[in-house]
């Protein structure tokens, strides 16, 4: 999977795409950690706009990102979450842990 990322004013946005499951989770986590370690952002935004499927592995990815950002004293936002991943995230009560952006922000 390709991970496009944008850095602006200490805000790192990582664009996730495709299907997120156990098969791809470890690689995704390592890619996110590597970007956080390089850019040392204040806020990390995981953008789910191009995610076509996500199972509970996605919850682990969010929690992993949260831990990495907590070490820096930063925060995690989730953005552009389609309905199916949103249902999985809500089943885990993720809105108590991180800030959820709009379901799909206007371009």
């Amino acid at each position: 999977m390709q991970y496009t990322s944008l850095l602006q004013d200490k805000r790192l946005t990582i664009l996730l795409s495709g299907e997120i499951d156990h098969h791809s989770a470890r690689e995704t986590m390592e890619a996110i950690t590597a970007k956080i370690d390089v850019y040392l952002p204040r806020r990390c935004v995981l953008d789910f706009g191009a995610v076509s499927f996500m199972d509970s592995s996605g919850i682990a990815i969010v929690i992993h990102t949260l831990r990495a950002m907590e070490e820096l004293g930063g925060e995690v936002w989730l953005a552009n979450i389609p309905a199916q991943p949103m249902k999985v995230l809500r089943a885990a009560g993720i809105e108590k842990l991180v800030r959820l952006g709009a379901e799909r922000s206007p371009a």
Binding site: D21, H22, M29, D55, I59, V88, A91
Partner: protein
């Protein structure tokens, strides 16, 4: 209950087969006219069950995982995922939310999601013999959808 249609598949416990199992379930369910949300629920539940078999049933070897899909009367889809692996020593503990014996890439939410996304869920496991997860979900279907619409007019 005699199924109206049935599909049996067996594959090795390779993580690449998680996507294959989801796609099989989605393709089989297509004949039952699920809504987009129902299709997402089915794919998520299958992904969780098959991932459990791959990660936990065979922690240090590759073993067989079977997926059985059955269409039952009343537009009910039954999904059975079975492995011949190590079994679950403490079933009650395994079903607790956020409990996992997996690594950092596991969340411990698999059973919680299977239970909440499907209408029924049962788990049978015997240490050293394997684990069977059986789930059912009633799908809206085109007939029922149009009946609801008719009542509205």
């Amino acid at each position: 209950m005699k199924p109206e249609n049935e599909l049996n598949a067996q594959f090795p416990s390779l993580s690449a087969n998680e996507a294959l199992a989801r796609q099989l379930a989605a393709a089989f369910a297509a004949q039952m006219d699920p809504t987009l949300e129902e299709l997402g629920d089915l794919k998520t539940a299958v992904s969780e069950a098959v991932t459990n078999a791959i990660v936990h049933a065979y922690p240090d070897r590759i073993g067989p995982v079977s997926l059985r899909l059955r269409r039952l009367a009343g537009n009910v889809l039954e999904i059975t995922v079975r492995d011949r692996g190590c079994g679950i020593p403490d079933v009650a503990k395994a079903r607790e939310p956020m409990f996992t014996t997996g690594g950092a890439e596991r969340s411990g939410m698999g059973f919680t999601i299977m239970e909440s996304f499907m209408n029924s869920f049962s788990l049978r496991s015997a240490p050293g013999k394997g684990t069977t997860v059986k789930m059912r979900k009633k799908l809206t279907g085109r007939d029922q959808g149009s009946r609801i619409k008719d009542q509205g007019t």
